[in-house]
């Protein structure tokens, strides 16, 4: 645990840096005998997982921190062998069903049932239930989500589910209503800056406030990224200066370059060049929806107000189609082509007005 992100992760609900009243509520919730299924959602890097681990510690004590990684094997109805990695302690098991793609339903049904059907060995000094943590619930297929809803009710006595999602818009209402939804908003920039200061103090470093704010700004309200960036700053150039370069993830820079290319020229030739860039992004594993969001953000900045709405609606439309399809590159390029067409038309009209 030598990265600051891991090293200085709070372990106790009361030691959390922000959303403190929420932490208090959670603590009191746990201290009652029982608690319902939870659906924790918020953007990435907001501290969902940290809060859940604190909660588990509150529930089961430090035993929940002794984690082990295991690989579990399942067989799909079509006789395909799949394996999935789980992280578990004696009291909980954490799994990311989307790792197995479209077979996530099998994982949910088998794993949750397995866990839920075994009771705790000594229920005397322990809680009566185990906890199953499911990551990225919003990326589950509809089948898997429907498989989940019955399981949630059936095994409520022996197991509690904690679902983690980025947004609940893609979680079906049936599941939403069965859970206590807890929103973990992203920290504000000042909150991030204060966390950075605290961490640097623990490390015995002095962080100039300007640099802290710059890091917080460029981290996109993602605390994990902010801490990593801060540490990267430290590694690159130690006595901090307020105007030193803040390293950023390369893919962000790359998306920005791509957007600049799109804006610079609108022609089929340029489209082919943009395609190469998009391919590069996809190869490096940047999720296509992130590419969409990044491109849109950059493109909209350079648009006339009248176009912004149109562009955004097109982006939404193409992103939706992309989720229905298999080949993201087709859809991203369709969006780029559409944008180019609209932008070019706008430019030509603007020029026509001038003359």
């Amino acid at each position: 645990m030598s990265l600051w992100v891991d090293k200085h992760r709070p372990k106790d609900l009361m030691k959390l840096d922000y959303h403190k009243d929420q932490a208090v509520r959670l603590k009191s919730l746990v201290q009652q005998s029982d608690f319902p299924h939870l659906l924790v959602y918020g953007p990435s890097g907001a501290g969902k997982k940290t809060r859940i681990m604190c909660l588990l510690r509150e529930l089961y004590g430090s035993g929940s921190e002794r984690l082990r990684q295991e690989t579990m094997h399942f067989t799909t109805p079509s006789n395909k062998k799949i394996e999935i990695m789980t992280v578990s302690s004696n009291y909980h098991i954490e799994v990311n069903p989307t790792d197995v793609g479209i077979h996530d339903r099998v994982v949910i049904m088998d794993l949750v049932k397995n866990v839920a059907q075994t009771h705790q060995i000594d229920s005397a000094g322990q809680r009566e239930f185990k906890v199953v943590i499911l990551n990225e619930v919003d990326d589950l297929t509809k089948d898997a989500q429907h498989a989940l809803r019955r399981t949630m009710e059936k095994y409520v006595s022996t197991c509690r589910l904690i679902l983690i999602a980025n947004s609940i818009s893609r979680v079906i209402p049936a599941i939403r209503s069965r859970c206590l939804t807890i929103r973990v908003p992203a920290p504000t920039e000042t909150e991030i800056a204060s966390v950075l200061h605290a961490v640097c103090k623990k490390e015995g470093l002095s962080l100039p406030p300007e640099l802290a704010m710059r890091i917080a700004k460029s981290a996109d309200r993602n605390l994990r990224r902010a801490l990593l960036m801060c540490e990267a700053c430290k590694v690159q150039h130690y006595p901090f200066t307020s105007d030193q370069k803040v390293p950023e993830p390369d893919w962000q820079i790359f998306i920005r370059e791509t957007a600049a290319m799109i804006l610079s020229e609108q022609s089929p030739k340029k489209l082919a060049e943009v395609r190469q860039k998009l391919y590069e992004l996809i190869i490096h594993g940047v999720p296509p929806d992130v590419i969409f969001a990044g491109l849109l953000k950059e493109l909209v900045c350079n648009c006339d107000m009248s176009m912004k709405c149109k562009i955004a609606s097109y982006a939404a439309q193409y992103e939706h189609r992309m989720r229905l399809g298999n080949k993201p590159i087709f859809h991203i390029e369709a969006f780029v082509a559409k944008f180019m067409a609209i932008y070019k038309k706008f430019l030509e009209e603007a020029l026509g007005d001038v003359f």
């Binding site: 990265l3 891991d6 089929p268 229905l324 067409a341």
Partner: protein, 860 residues
Amino acid sequence: MGDFPDPDEEYELMYSDDLELIREIDDGTDSKKIKNKVLPAKRSLDFSSPVQKPLLHTQQSSANASSLSESYQSQTDIISSIPTKRTAEDLFGDINDIDFDDLGLPSKRQKTEEENDLELINKIIESRKMRQMLSEPNRALLDNMSNYNVSKNLSLKIPKWAFMPFTNWDGDRVYVRMESEDSWEESLDLAPDQISLKSMFTPVWEEARKILEAKKNRIEQDLVQETTVNDKQDFTDLWVEKYKPKSYIDLLSEEPVNRCLLHWLHLWDKIVFNKDLKTVEPQQRNSFSKRTGQFQMSNKWRGKKDEPEMDEDGRPHHKVALVCGPPGVGKTTLAHLLARLAGYRPVELNASDERSTDQFKNALQSATLMRSVLDAEKRPNCLILDEIDGAPIQTVELLVRWCTAKKDEGKKKSRVHVLKRPVIAICNDLYATSLRPLRPISLIVSVGAVCSTRLSSRLTLVAKCERVYVAARALTALAARARGDVRSALHALSFLRAGGKNGDQIKVEDVENIAIGTKDNSQSIMQALQTIFTLNNNDHEAVLKVIQAAGEYERIADGIFENYPCSRSDSRLLVSCAISELLALFDITNSWILRTSNYSMYGVLPTLLARGHDILATRQPTRVKFPMTSQEMSRKKTEMDSILWSIWRGSTVYNTKKSLKLDIIPLLPYLLSPVLRSANIQLCSDSERKSVLSCAGAMCDYGLTYIQRREQNGYEHVIEPDVYRLALFGPEDRMRPSPAVRQTIAAQQQLEVIRRNEEMMNRSSGRPEKCERKVSKKEVPSVEVKESRLPNHLQRLQPKAIERALPQVQKDFFGRIVQVAEVQKQADGVSGLITSSVFYQYREGFNNAVRRNVRMRDLM
């Protein structure tokens, strides 16, 4: 005919053959006069022959004769009833210069003589014309029609102009106009459009043709009736077997191919029939090459000249001939025939035989090492491995070993047998994976599809032999339909024969309708793409059909995607928008089909692609590239994903893949390249050392290691898994630390791994030491060790203490008690042992080693 001496001579020259014939025929009739009489008649006959021929036909066809003659009558009536003076003068003005007396109305006796002659001449000319007409009826018809004006030169009544009467067998008399040379010249000059009555002639010709056909049919029916008698024994043999080539001449495959294989077989002569061929052979080859050098083909089938054709053992360079080609072109036949021709006994091993390695080995041995006993001629074997592309790969490897490894071993050990017989392998697919080891060592002879003209001529032959009457066009169609597959063509022909009702002529329609023997016409993706991108005037259906024939819609969609930006000029990007919308729709539909496994929508996919043709097609030819990018990209993505996966699996800190991918890995390169002076770690400042330590810790957390790998210039530390490739775009090396730094980090990382393992051990041993590591690093280790756990030697000391209770009295050699030295007594004291962390023990005088447990972490 003294009036026209010159034309006569000319005529003699021109038709001397015919005259000769005539002379032979009427030997008896010698009169010069008759000959003179004949000559002008012949001249006119020459012009009028086409008219006479139909007349002759009418004579033959008794059924239609009356109607024909009626129509003819009416025609001539009309003609003769136009006695316009002017036309008569215009056209026949030169009639006067013909000697009427000479020609005049011939006497009765003369006439019969003349008629005999004329009939003979008619017959000869008619039969010749007939033959010509049969071969190219239209041309002959046209020629004659344009040359000859029927109405003016023929009459059934006695005409006013100079004429020559003819009587046919039925007694009808026709008067043919006699013309002078000049008028003939004039008639030649007439423009063809002036010949107005040409059309009136056609019905007659049509009728005649019908009669001819009827006659032919009658002959055919007779033939079939004959053949049906013979049919019984014919059906016992398959035609494919029956008409198998019996000799080299009969082979249908290309000449260079045949030559190539035969030449290769002859190369074996030296080792197989090693009597005298050894010396003769090179000369033979030389002469052979000289002979064939005249042909331009000679080098093609010979392969490269520089390649030695024989190895040192006197065997051909290629041990195996690999004959490949589509099915049904006669590969097996070729191999068998040539093997027999070269003096071998072909031994065939095909897919129907057991082809496990053992069986195969047996077969190989028996075929190549032994000699057939039963064969009277004692011919050496030639192994033919048919359908080798279906053989298991081990078998092929065995064959390769058999053929190649022997070459080396054969010299060393005489025990091992050298392959001394030719082996011909036959396959359909040259590039089958199992053939990969065989390809480099073998002579590859590819037999192409038989060209359709050769095939159709062979089919004609077969049809003739089988007495099946097939229209020539039908055979050509059949040959084209078989696409060079002789076997399927023959099968189709026999099927047609069997299906035909009592020997009807097999027509083109039958061939077109036949369902067998047609292979699926598969189109390549490239053809489909080319069709999509080029505009032709075909209907939409044609494009759709090509796409459907090609299949693999996803690849075609990829192809469209990759090719559309450079297909049409598209400044406003409207085409791009349209086509990308279309492709998106395709993708959605396709993935819906795949996801739900519901193929009811599958039929829509080619239509979607065909729609792309409407948007993209241009007249100018575009060079379509094969869709490679998407596969290339997916390959790269898999590579990157595997890096991500290994980091994810290796990391001890649990993160979701997404956060690892988007947040942590992109920033890891910055964290893993600390700014260091390139010096020994011991010489670094405290802060530097700390940064190296944290870097090493981070590497341990995420399961990264530096691995020493040998590069072209010395060793290099390479990070594994390669996080830099995943994190960075463009040139990846820009962030990599310098080799010296890498080495330092690598060393530290290894120490960190040891440290962590130890910590793990401690934890598992159950000691409740909290945050011990952090403290211990800074303080002196020995103090901490003492606190936490008993030193090892203290534990050992316990039994010693019991021992001390009854001290052994040491005696010397003679049994006297030895005085223990003062110093030693003090050293034995317990207090001295406990206080010092280092101690030594004197053991019976033979070992005084200092013993102490040392931990790795204390040395670090």
